[in-house]
Symmetry: C2
Amino acid sequence: MTKHKVSTAVIRRLPRYFRHLNDLLQGGVVRISSNALGDAMGLTASQIRQDLSCFGEFGQQGYGYHVETLLAEVSDILGINNGHNAIIVGAGNLGRALIENFHFDSTGFRLTAAFDINPTLVGTRLAGIPVLHTDKLEQYIAEHPTHVAVLTIPGGVARETATRLVDTGIRGLWNFTNVELELQNKTVVVENVHFADSLLALNYMISE
Amino acid sequence: MTKHKVSTAVIRRLPRYFRHLNDLLQGGVVRISSNALGDAMGLTASQIRQDLSCFGEFGQQGYGYHVETLLAEVSDILGINNGHNAIIVGAGNLGRALIENFHFDSTGFRLTAAFDINPTLVGTRLAGIPVLHTDKLEQYIAEHPTHVAVLTIPGGVARETATRLVDTGIRGLWNFTNVELELQNKTVVVENVHFADSLLALNYMISE
């Protein structure tokens, strides 16, 4: 299996395959044709065959895809079984919403700690996750393998916090701060969550 | 200007144009070539010319784009000047994070009210926005023109709440609940925010 030269568009569709296949599996569907999967996802059958061919041969002509097998393959491609650990930096409303409601485990992450500077939070636990002082970031990461940091801090401290995290050797930042992080270290992946892009697209669609 | 037959991919890129042009304007850039804008956005110059040609002729050969003019055009295309009103249903952590930190106005919306069933919240204000009881949804919308509802309620009540909202004649739902809403009324636009898709893509990228 080669993962090279996979386009951004395909990478962005992989989580959607994962989501739809999970829904199908939970709905008791054993196998599905590329046509039917395409209909459910708003893609053509040939697009689906092309996307999945980036990673190997999964379907079988005249049979389609075995849902459970394809889901396992897509999960594997996405790195869900890699045992990655995540921390959250910023336990304000958004941080807490993620700590309490987001299923990190279903995306292959274990959330191990949260960080904040608020003295009423530091030392407590939120949904079982310990809240440590942000001063302890470097020390914590040195002692606990950490692959991804979720940034739910105020925008004003986003850049300096990102720099500190990058210096620890972290591999990815899940950035909710709306600050464009231009990192010197290009091996660190930044995934931005732009709420505004989503609401703007909705504005366009209701204005049509 | 025709808005018909604009592909989903172009619609998804429009907010990114808006964001980059805003950054350029704030950075004092007066005009930009399609090459330079493409570099900043990770697109080719011809892709940019093609995207924008869906809506009319904006650039000028040998000059490029006048940043402020193009931003005004893109804002207009996105419907930012349409004076849309939004409400938030669910004032838990995520709802509060949006009420307190998200700039609805910069996406062309006015946030007018929040709804919750929590008696300690109902009757109060969050960041100046009144919190009403969810029982009052229909009455409120009948009295106050409302175009979009933000769903930050628990998944268990997502479908029934969406149905109630659709029955009021609302035009769009900004859905953070992770529940797939299959609406009977196909004229209502649902924009889903799938946090998990974003984190899965990050998992893929750090696993490469």
